[in-house]
Symmetry: C2
Subunit: 187 residues, 2 copies
């Protein structure tokens, strides 16, 4: 099983280009011609339709593949994540992992915001992916909700561009969050 195919099929290259375009230009703003152009097919010829039955079918397939890819990555990350014993270090490790997870879902999050009506499956998929957050480590702690909200908020802000937290590094943010949830006096 080759981890990376040297020559992705045209179908896969269409899915790549399409997801990029849907995220950047939105569904309506994306044209089949532009998709064809990006994968090296002659634009406006409808060669695309040998691979997908319609533009809507393309969106659903692109989302489906992206969900599968990102969830696999996240599960792999979690399996190989070593949790330190020290509670503070454990907390910041999980926080970092959560930010990584969020970044992986960026494009889907954006699609969820812009095309959520068109592909409700995105929302379902993300909701099934996210409950895994901090399971066993954070769950049932009173500060869990605030912590997750803070990580989402921090992440979203720099996704939005410019951002309120432009000058706050990830390390500094996690440090502040750790101090707040685990006491600031402890070394």
């Amino acid at each position: 099983m080759p981890a990376i195919k040297a020559t992705p099929s045209t179908r896969d290259r269409i899915l790549d280009a399409a997801l990029d375009l849907f995220v950047e230009e939105g569904f309506s703003g994306t044209t089949i011609s532009e998709v064809e152009r990006r994968v090296g097919l002659a634009a406006g010829t409808g060669s695309f339709y040998r691979h997908f039955s319609s533009k809507e079918a393309l969106l659903r397939a692109a989302v489906e593949r992206e969900v599968a890819t990102r969830m696999a990555e996240i599960e792999h990350d979690r399996a190989s994540l070593a949790l330190p014993d020290d509670p503070r270090k454990q907390f910041s490790t999980i926080a970092e992992q959560t930010l990584r997870d969020l970044r992986r879902f960026d494009r889907l999050l954006r699609l969820m915001l812009t095309e959520g009506d068109r592909v409700p499956e995105i929302q379902d998929a993300m909701m099934t992916a996210l409950p895994g957050w901090g399971a066993g480590s954070w769950a049932d702690r009173p500060s869990t909700v605030v912590t997750i909200a803070a990580l989402i908020g921090y992440h979203i802000s720099d996704l939005v561009g410019g951002g309120v937290f432009k000058d706050v590094t990830q390390a500094a943010f996690i440090e502040a969050l750790t101090a707040l949830t685990h006491g600031t006096t402890q070394s």
Copy 2:
């Protein structure tokens, strides 16, 4: 100066309808015909063009008016906001106000995400509006950044629909946030 005009001009009703549509369907997904239909003009006749020179001009005008409206609302709210003396109560009052502010910027936030390239002024406008957050009360406190991030995260999640915090009421969230930043032991 009438606070609410009984009969808004056609121009204003176009701006209302247009903003709704741009937020819901995106710029490309919005048609002039649909705008005309919503304001009671015959669809597809181009009557719209007696009021605006192009679809792009309409977007800019709609954004401009929305920014002005929301910022005025926020300034008005702030001016009439009575801050309690008790630090905990003061904190939760400001937190509630911040959530209100965020809600007011929802539609602009969405447009910023989807049409940011087309109207870069949105980002500038929001960045000038937001530094006012918690000024004088929160600024320079170590937990400020985390607090704002948490409020943004909480808000975004229910904006996205479904949401991770569906079962967490605003009051409960602010309570948890207050406990975390002001100590849980104090009554």
